[in-house]
Amino acid sequence: MPTSIQTTGRTSWRPYWRILVAGFRRQSTYRLAALGGLIANTTFGLLKVAILFATVRAAGGDLNGYDIGTISAYIWISQGLLGSVNLNGRSDIATRIKDGGIVVDFLRPLSVQAASVATEVGQSIFALIPRGLPTVSIGVLVVGMNVPSAASGYLLGALSLLLGIVVSATTVYLVAAAGFWLVETRGLQILYMVVSGFFAGLFVPIDLFPNALRIVAECTPFPSMLMYPVDVLSGRVVGMDALGLVGLQVLWLVLTALAGHLMTRAGRRKLEVQGG
């Protein structure tokens, strides 16, 4: 019998946690890119301040429930989350499915989907440090914005933020997994990029959408990525309503994760490893 090393428990969170940490560490090596992202986020934040502040003032200081304080919180928190919530549809695993690097993922005793999501989430969490926190700080210190009044608001806000990050990773995974059939998913990724920002409420809060459009948005996972975390973090939605939003996020997490699982299972049979 060959010598074999004793392994500890079979189904364990440890590998995924370690992969998440690796994603975090990996992202930490791209400092200049993070600085570039921060500058872009801040610039667009100031642009949005100019446009949306003017709109709120033109509406007499109250635009569908938004005043200057809440619209400012919306702007700076959403800009801050841009580095962490994947609204561009790109992922490493999509590239690996296309170029055949995916073989390495299948050679590990892990769920390919969970490992990919863990990596993306780790990278996203790191991005909060150089991009998320500074952007929001600029909002609080330079422009001024609403913040939750109770500690519970911050706690629920943090949970909602984390869920937003994870939902964006599980949804982007679906774009990548379509590559099992399509191989080239760039078209789908661009469609995702166009649709996601709009329905996630990046340009305008979805509460300011015409009613029909708002309903369409709510039938997609996109508000769970950005709009709901912003609403909970800024304290615009509180109490049971806030819990309701977090519940919706959990629902979308389950749905997108399940879809990704089924797509991976079916897609494996279609996989034709590209190159070598």
Binding site: P2, T3, R25, R268, E272
Partner: protein
């Protein structure tokens, strides 16, 4: 080393691909009717021309590709259905792909992989130390993977694939692009790993040196089908694959056509450089060199191995 347990067993294994040929789609058979049994502790060279179906076979053995026909068992498991369980028992190096974390120090890839395979702290430390020592990784453990030379990276790749002490190690072109010294180190390591742990080796290569120094059995495939299963010596004998001694001589010399057990292939520079083919089963490079030295002073020499392509070409030619 016991060879009674089958580590790899395929029966009439086949895989087709649909390929687009202009507007039409046609079926390409990458692997066909492959029936092979590899026992524990064997070292097998899996050779064939580009596109012969080697990588496709490997991917089916690991559960990455789903076979179109036939059956395959690896380490007693069904590769597709039991992929994750199998991944704990198999280590694979794809020479063209990396399984290391590109942006992070080499050391970190090992700790991540140890967590992925659920190694305990003691096992992790012992195995990492063993691999670092035997593959000489210590000097660049702290270097990000993307800054490694190819030779360093391949050694790190091999360590990464073997960290969990797999029973079966599959190497797809492990020495591609490596310099002579790096190849040598890697081969020595693989020989030692096999001796110490009884690991089963399966490797695809275009490098005859790999096959000669590492494998005691050859599987040769031609257009997806197995055409030779046996020893390298047997294969070379069958196809008459020869080595070539190239000698640089001190003086212009008439063609050395009558050196015993050799065949004169050609001369350059008015007979200053001559090429003599010989069969390693009937004579040795040393004997040929001695015979040449008796007639003329030899300044320099080189021995050319028959490359796998050459052997393959001969087998293929003989089959047609």
């Amino acid at each position: 080393m016991s060879t009674d347990t089958a580590i790899i067993e395929t029966r009439e294994l086949g895989r087709d691909f649909k390929v687009r040929d202009g507007v039409r789609r046609r079926t390409l058979t990458a692997v066909d009717d492959l029936s092979v049994c590899v026992g524990a502790g064997e070292a097998v060279g899996y050779i064939g021309a580009n596109g012969a179906g080697k990588s496709t076979t490997i991917k089916m053995l690991c559960g990455i590709l789903v076979p179109t026909r036939g059956s395959v068992t690896t380490c007693g498991l069904r590769p597709v259905a039991d992929r994750r369980e199998l991944a704990r028992q198999v280590g694979v190096v794809f020479g063209q792909r990396t399984q290391l974390w590109w942006d992070l120090p080499v050391r970190e890839s090992f700790t991540i992989l140890a967590a992925i395979h659920g190694l305990g702290r003691t096992a992790e430390t012992a195995r990492t130390e063993e691999l670092v020592d035997r593959l000489e990784l210590a000097e660049f453990l702290g270097t990000p993977v993307r800054q490694l030379s190819l030779g360093q990276r391949m050694r790190a790749e091999v360590a990464a694939a073997l960290l969990h002490s797999p029973r079966l190690v599959i190497l797809d072109e492990p020495t591609i692009g490596l310099d002579v010294l790096s190849k040598q180190r890697l081969r020595e390591f693989l020989v030692a790993e096999r001796t110490v742990h009884g690991t089963t080796l399966l490797l695809t290569t275009h490098d005859m040196g790999d096959v000669e120094r590492l494998c005691d059995r050859i599987l040769l495939v031609d257009r997806g089908r197995l055409v030779w299963d046996g020893t390298l010596a047997g294969l070379s004998r069958t196809v008459g694959a020869q080595r070539v001694l190239v000698v640089d001589l001190a003086a212009s010399t008439p063609d050395l056509v009558d050196v015993p057990s050799t065949q004169h292939l050609g001369s350059e520079g008015g007979g200053l450089r001559q090429r003599l083919a010989f069969d390693p089963d009937t004579t040795t490079a040393a004997k040929v060199l001695a015979a040449v030295s008796e007639r003329v002073e030899v300044l320099d020499l080189a021995v050319e191995e028959p490359d796998v392509e050459d052997v393959v070409r001969r087998v293929y030619a003989a089959r047609r």
